[in-house]
Symmetry: none
Subunit: 254 residues, 2 copies
């Protein structure tokens, strides 16, 4: 289904597409092809297989080699999202984690609006077979779920990438109609937010709040889910940092 | 990207998907998977390769075997479309043939309307490499072309099938696109939130964070604005309360 040449498609690259722990090289190649179909050119890979840009990937990319050659590798998802302000994750609805869930269509519109406002959103797609782990989901702000045949919902990797990219492209003709937050209210970078969360968790370990090792991962996940969803601005992260420092007495200790 | 179970998706089968002279068995399997993702269950094949429902196709179908087993074979496209009233073909823009050209989105809406009026429309997708021949295009009423990256428009077979099926499904979806907050995700009452904020502010007075009387109203307003906007759930307010109590050492003091 080739496209027309009459449409104005921005080739500036669009938001990054992060593939987290993809399992098969040919799926990475197919995802690159789907991305380029939709004008998305920035691929990020978290722990891909060794042959991620080998022959299988190149064959499947059908000419989108440049995306494979330009892909950036990360050891962890946290590093891959560090510079982003909003992460939209295509994954199964997470259990026990509070996240907004929207359709690919709504996601396309939302990302266009965020980019127009100067933010840095990105897409995230989990591994083929098992999806994202809870710790990874906690790094996402929003879950993207297509309304598919409820008896058969599992899309392959490249198809999930295609739907995200396609709706991003389709949304390009839609004027953004979001609430303007204003310049001062830009969400903090993921790096700043994770720095705060790391200091908070260290303090909570010191005060005994995370003493129960069995419950600790669950509690940490709940804390991260809340602050991710709250999307504090840069100044708010500073405020939260100050609050935690004051409460924990670190001002006096140091 | 699994779908939700709350959406009403008709499983009556939808319009037939005709694959004309597909070249590779795995693409037929992937197309079956994409069809079933979208609730389309009637596959028609014109001159497929000999191994069209062999192991490669079954592996690629990821469990959509029933579509392969139920597929109907035809020697020519004319026979495959004989019982249909309208044929929507995803193919390159034909030369020297005058046909209306619409997007997948418009096609989804058009097919829904035709079915509602009692007609029998169908989708048609051409071979992977060369597209439909002119004699075959002449059997189509309407050409379906997605507005893709003009520099890289070629979709693979299953992806073309997915976009057609996805837009067919979307055109019938009555589910809202907006954020779903599930049962467990209800925001806490304002009373619970204000209770938390009151305790937090008392602790911050005690630790000296709000010692500057001139700045205090401004800082309190910023704290309240953040937590109001974050809309914590009831359990999250409990978590935040526990964090503040632990950090401030109130657990020990009381």
């Amino acid at each position: 289904m080739p496209g027309t040449d009459r449409t104005k498609v921005s080739l500036s690259g669009g938001p990054p597409m992060i593939l987290c722990r993809p399992q098969r090289a040919e799926n990475i190649g197919s995802a690159a092809r789907a991305m380029l179909n939709c004008g998305l050119t920035e691929m990020r890979l978290v722990s891909p297989p060794d042959d991620w840009k080998g022959e299988k990937a190149r064959n499947a990319s059908s000419g989108a080699d440049a995306l494979l050659d330009g892909a950036r590798l990360f050891a962890t998802l946290a590093e891959a999202v560090a510079d982003l302000t909003h992460v939209f994750a295509a994954t199964a609805r997470p259990r026990n984690i509070v996240k907004p869930v929207i359709t690919p269509r709504a996601a396309g519109v939302a990302l266009r609006a965020l980019v127009a406002e100067g933010h840095r959103p990105g897409f995230l797609v989990g591994p083929e077979r098992f999806g994202l782990e809870n710790d990874e989901v906690s790094l996402a702000d929003t879950i993207v779920t297509a309304n598919l045949n409820p008896a058969f919902t599992s899309l392959n990797l490249a198809q999930a990438v295609l739907l995200l990219g396609y709706e991003w492209l389709e949304a390009g003709n839609v004027a953004p109609e979001t609430t303007h937050l204003g310049r001062a209210e830009e969400p903090a970078t993921k790096e700043a937010l994770m720095g705060f969360l790391g200091r908070l968790e260290a303090d909570l370990l010191a005060t005994g709040f995370l003493a129960n090792e069995g419950r600790r991962p669950h509690t940490v996940r709940d804390i991260r889910a809340f602050f991710q969803r709250a999307r504090p601005t840069g100044p708010e992260v500073g405020l939260l940092d100050g609050i935690v420092r004051s409460l924990s007495g670190r001002n006096k200790r140091t």
